[in-house]
């Protein structure tokens, strides 16, 4: 019986272990991160297998619910946790290439980031969710500024301002809910949400929706994303795109579905999702800088997931979660590849990267990642996109789906332009070193595996999304 709390305790333990090891030898700290994330990934994997039988409950500190902090791990939480830790482990291999000196602080923050994201996904208690959100945010603020250059600091500043306003709203929401229902356990809240005073319920929902929206990169709140992803070091932007963003979306899904079952509010969520996709994809087309382009494209993808959640049918929500997994893998791969391209071309402008990806070790995974993000079949991105589209159609959202398809044509346009430049016959082909191409190949294999044989993942998702949407 794996106690989910271990998934949170281990990274914390290793995070504070790294300064001690740091004293002994800098090299070993890097291996520590890899070991810690690997351990976490295997634990999450075992937990996932176990969770298939029955949801796992884990009471911390002996307090009985509804007061004690309870880790409620459903199959969905487990699968997202597993993906988060797996991607964290793969990115940690890429961390070996980080040159910046204070590696000890880097490893601490990185492990805290992993802990925070996993915690957000596993926890069943609202305030605990807020605490883990804060842990992730603090780790992200400092990691965003890790490069200590002007771009890094400015990005971090923007993230701090928007992030803390967001978390204040979350706290506001929590207090309002607590003031009415006197409980913080999510299942409890979901059960007794009806008894709340409608006006307070609306304010609470809006503030929670807004707070988690910041983390989930929804349209008006994702203004910090491009600057932060651009300023942060490469492995970190890869981590940002897959770890906190996924946790944020998961929290949003919980807010929308488990706690507040607002069916007539969902169409507004769909519109917000569409706006996010629209602004994400269209501005990504105008970007010259690779990392900003990938940041905007990740906004677009998150918008698609939000749209999927908003549509609300079992198929669409299933597609949204599937897309969550595919996007985590795809974006991590693209950001690592971007890291290599920037390193090889010595500049982050796309024009200067002529022919940098001609080496098959980088080229093929990059192509697989891009095609998966575009939603091409044998890769993970296909099923997510297809189910969301079909869910949208079954709810009659013709116009919205048509607009979404137009936006994704723009997405294909700028990815094709990027691939064209990167695969052109450039002058010299640079061989990537092990720390770069191993994660790329691992992620590519994962994407193909999930794409070619989706049965296991779909089995989990079908069962979960039916439960979440109450068969809506």
């Amino acid at each position: 019986m794996i106690r989910p709390v271990l998934l949170i305790a281990f990274p914390l333990f290793f995070a504070f272990l790294s300064p001690i090891i740091g004293l002994w030898s800098k090299k070993w700290v890097r291996y520590l991160i890899i070991f810690a994330t690997a351990l976490n990934a295997t634990l999450a994997g075992l937990l996932l297998l176990e969770v298939f039988q029955h949801p796992v409950f884990d009471i911390i500190g002996g307090f009985q619910p509804p007061l004690g902090i309870v880790l409620m791990v459903g199959p969905l939480g487990a699968i997202i946790a597993f993906i988060i830790n797996l991607v964290a482990f793969i990115i940690s291999i890429y961390n070996l290439k980080v040159e910046k000196e204070p590696i000890v602080r880097y490893s601490m923050l990185y492990l805290l980031l992993v802990m925070g994201s996993t915690g957000m996904v596993l926890t069943g208690d609202l305030f605990n969710l807020f605490v883990f959100l804060e842990v992730t945010s603090i780790a992200s603020y400092s990691l965003a500024a890790y490069n200590k250059d002007k771009k890094g600091f400015l990005g971090a500043m923007k993230y701090v301002i928007i992030g803390s306003i967001g978390s204040t709203f979350v706290l506001l929401g929590i207090t309002l809910i607590y003031s009415e229902l006197r409980t913080l356990n999510m299942l409890d809240i979901a059960a007794r949400i009806g008894t709340m005073d409608p006006y307070v319920k609306i304010i609470a929902f809006t503030s929670l929706f807004l707070g988690f929206g910041v983390e989930a990169e929804m349209f008006p709140l994702n203004t910090w994303v491009p600057d932060v992803y651009d300023g942060a070091p490469n492995p970190i932007s890869a981590a940002f795109a897959s770890l906190p963003a996924k946790a944020g979306i998961f929290a949003l899904a919980r807010v929308i579905f488990t706690m507040f079952s607002f069916t007539n509010f969902l169409w507004f969520v769909v519109i917000m999702g569409l706006l996010t996709v629209f602004f994400g994809e269209l501005i990504a087309y105008t970007q010259k800088n690779l990392k900003r382009m990938l940041a905007y494209s990740s906004i677009g993808q998150m918008g698609m997931i939000i749209m999927g959640l908003g549509i609300g049918t079992t198929l669409a929500v299933e597609g949204a979660f599937y897309q969550m997994i595919a996007h985590a893998l795809g974006k991590a791969l693209l950001f690592i590849a971007a890291g290599f391209l920037i390193y090889a071309a010595k500049s982050d402008k796309i024009e200067d990267m002529k022919g940098m990806a001609r080496n098959p070790l980088v080229g093929i995974p990059l192509l697989i990642g891009a095609l998966s993000i575009m939603g091409m079949p044998p890769f993970a991105g296909f099923y997510g996109k297809f189910f969301i589209l079909m869910g949208g159609f079954s709810e009659g959202y013709y116009a919205i789906i048509a607009l979404f398809l137009a936006a994704s044509i723009v997405e294909v346009a700028y990815y094709a332009r990027f691939i064209k430049i990167v695969f052109e016959k450039g002058n010299r082909v640079i061989r990537p070193d092990a720390a770069t191409y191993i994660p790329l190949i691992l992620l590519a294999i994962l994407i193909v595996l999930i794409g070619v044989y989706p049965k296991p993942i779909l089995a989990v998702l079908q069962h979960v999304s039916a439960f979440i949407t109450g068969g809506a």
């Binding site: 500043m157 923007k158 301002i161 928007i162 306003i165 967001g166 709203f169 409608p198 609306i202 304010i203 929902f205 809006t206 503030s207 929706f209 807004l210 929206g213 008006p220 709140l221 203004t223 910090w224 600057d227 509010f265 507004f268 602004f279 269209l282 501005i283 087309y285 105008t286 192509l367 095609l371 091409m376 079949p377 044998p378 099923y383 297809f386 589209l389 079909m390 159609f393 079954s394 013709y398 789906i401 048509a402 398809l405 994704s408 044509i409 723009v410 094709a416 332009r417 691939i419 064209k420 430049i421 695969f423 052109e424 070619v452 044989y453 989706p454 049965k455 296991p456 993942i457 089995a459």
Partner: protein, 605 residues
């Protein structure tokens, strides 16, 4: 034969082949060839037992193996077999990657043909379209980008069509679409979306812009793309109009002299495509672009047949698609052989290669006969059926466009023959050798059906008849050697006998006296001093025609697309202004968003 063997042979096997042949380095095409041969053998063996099965890979895929699938698979399998055979000796760079992607495309094509539910159709369609994208990427990123934009456009048209059906019936299966729930106007939208979606693959006029670019990548791939994969567009339109919707739905839009009002505009579009495609082909100097526009023109004929919808027209369309698969890929392989030997693409830079590469010349000549519709090849029969279908129904706009387009086909056919194979042999091509054996074998395979089915049209008309009756249409009336329409018929047996006898008469007169061979510079120059340089009149060959057509040629669809997309991109830059970069504006956005959410929340309560 159960679900797994069908799925295994036609989908898993090529996928495994794709994986294996990547590591084959130089011998990759041979490995790929073996895999394609295996599927070919099974295709032959399984002719009889058709059936439909479902395979569960997490999502249910409904695969059906019936005569329609078999007919199209026959084309695609033979074309990819000969393309790979050609590639064996064409020593392409990174042949491993080439054969992997070809097999992926082949899997996608097989999947589209086998699938009878929209999920698997869309899955395999996208798989096929992106593997073509990467194949074009091997030659030029820009061309690949333009292709992918249209490829994705076609996929999203299809998705829209599928979505509307899914909204009404809630299921992906083809047959459920007919469960009578879908209202009549929704069918109009569904069919328009599906036809446009599949039409992009068949390069119908407004959506043809990607074809000339896509067709200038490696020749063996292009012959598979234009010969094989464009048939998927035909298959898609045929299935969506006559199997998913069915004649009942089509006629519910009102019929105009027996042809559904929905089908007629697409037939007209097809005729315009045939005409414009042929005219544009006449003026191209690059052999690949010329063949690309000619392919657009020929597929315009098929579109006419599909649009008209009478059994004769559909029979003609299927037969013409069959012929097009063979003579077009034969032409591309011929051009590929010439490019392989001389390294040149421009027609005017070649000349006189027919004397050095006689077999390639004969194969290309035979393909030209097929293209132009000369009765010595089966190309004539399919064109004949399309004309008869149009004239039978007294369509006075479609028929002239098609007839003039076929006369135009003579012009660009001769431009290929004269420009490349006849005229003066240039100095640097003196020592050009004949194309290597595998190339000639590949071309020979493609030539055979054109000849056989011209002598005995009964066999293929039999298959086409089965396909038509399988989708519930009236059969065409034909016998072993003859084929009829309501206003005329023709007997190929008497034609061939008469031709042989009269040819023998001409030979008899001809061989009375022997002739002395003379080198190419010993010409009659009406008194001028004969020049030692080989003069070749192929440069800017149809200049007078180009001058007369000049006012028309100003308008080009490509530029229209560029202007159209420029308009949108400027819009993107406007939207970009929202991300000002100043955190205070961002905080303001947050506050405003909160207020908007509150108002909407209140309003909803």
């Amino acid at each position: 034969m159960d679900a797994l063997t069908l799925f295994g042979i036609f989908i898993l096997l090529p996928l495994v082949g794709a994986l294996l042949s990547y590591f084959g380095r130089k011998y990759a095409p041979i490995i790929a060839l073996i895999f394609v041969a295996i599927t070919g053998i099974f295709l032959y063996v399984w002719y009889g037992n058709f059936g439909s099965y479902t395979v569960d890979i997490g999502v249910k895929l409904n695969l059906t193996f019936d005569i329609t699938t078999w007919f199209f698979m026959l084309m695609i399998n033979t074309v990819i077999f000969s393309s790979l055979l050609f590639a064996v000796s064409a020593d392409l760079k990174n042949a491993g990657g080439f054969s992997t992607l070809m097999l992926l495309g082949f899997t996608g094509a097989n999947g589209v043909l086998l699938s009878r539910d929209f999920l698997s159709l869309y899955l395999f369609w996208e798989l096929m379209s992106w593997s073509v994208y990467v194949l074009i990427l091997r030659t030029s990123g820009e061309y690949a980008r333009r292709y992918l934009l249209f490829g994705v456009l076609s996929a999203y048209f299809i998705i829209m069509g599928i979505g509307i059906i899914y909204y009404y019936t809630g299921s992906f299966l083809y047959e459920d679409a007919l469960s009578g729930v879908i209202p009549y106007y929704a069918w109009a939208w569904i069919l328009v979306f599906l036809i446009l979606g599949f039409g992009v693959k068949m390069a119908i006029i407004p959506l043809h812009v990607w074809a000339p670019y896509a067709y200038s990548s490696e020749q063996p791939f292009v012959s598979f793309l234009s010969g094989g994969l464009s048939k998927l567009g035909t298959f898609g339109i045929y299935m969506s109009m006559y199997s998913i919707a069915g004649v009942g739905i089509l006629d519910s839009f009102g019929t105009f002299r027996g042809v559904s009002l929905l089908g007629y505009p697409f037939a007209l579009l097809g005729a315009i495509t045939a005409f414009v495609g042929t005219i544009l082909a006449i003026f191209q100097d690059d052999i690949r672009k010329l063949l690309a526009y000619s392919s657009i023109g020929q597929l315009g004929y098929v579109m006419v047949g599909l649009g008209l919808g009478t059994s004769l027209a559909l029979g003609g369309a299927l037969f013409h698609a069959f012929n097009h698969a063979f003579f077009k890929s034969l032409l591309f392989l011929g051009a590929g052989a010439v490019i392989y030997r001389t390294g040149k693409y421009k027609i005017s830079e070649m000349g006189g290669l027919g004397y050095r590469m006689p077999f390639t010349f004969l194969f290309v000549l035979f393909a030209i006969f097929g293209l132009a519709g000369i009765p010595l090849t089966s190309g004539f029969i399919s064109k004949w059926m399309l004309y008869e279908a149009a004239i039978e129904k007294k369509f006075v706009i479609i028929a002239p466009l098609m007839l003039i387009a076929s006369v135009g086909a003579f012009l660009y056919s001769y431009r290929i023959l004269y420009g490349i194979f006849l005229g003066g042999l240039k100095e640097e091509h003196k020592k050009v050798k004949e194309a290597p054996a595998p190339m000639l074998a590949a071309m020979f395979i493609l030539m055979l059906p054109l000849l056989i089915f011209s002598i005995v049209p009964g066999w293929i008309l039999g298959w086409i008849n089965d396909v038509l009756t399988n989708t519930g249409l009236k059969p065409i009336d034909y016998t072993q050697f003859t084929y009829y329409s309501s206003i005329g018929g023709a007997n190929m047996a008497t034609f061939w006998i008469a031709f042989m006898v009269l040819f023998f008469v001409a030979v008899a007169i001809f061989i009375m006296k022997r002739a002395r061979v003379v080198n190419q510079y010993d010409n009659y120059f009406a008194g001028e001093a004969p020049s030692s340089v080989a003069l070749h009149a192929a440069h800017n060959y149809y200049k007078p025609l180009k001058d007369t057509w000049a006012p028309m040629l100003k308008y080009s669809v490509d530029r229209a697309y560029e202007k159209f997309s420029k308009f949108f991109v400027d819009g993107f830059y406007e939207i970009k202004k929202i991300y000002t970069g100043n955190p205070q504006d961002y905080a303001a956005y947050l506050g405003i968003a909160f207020l908007i959410f509150l108002i909407i929340g209140w309003w909803l309560l």
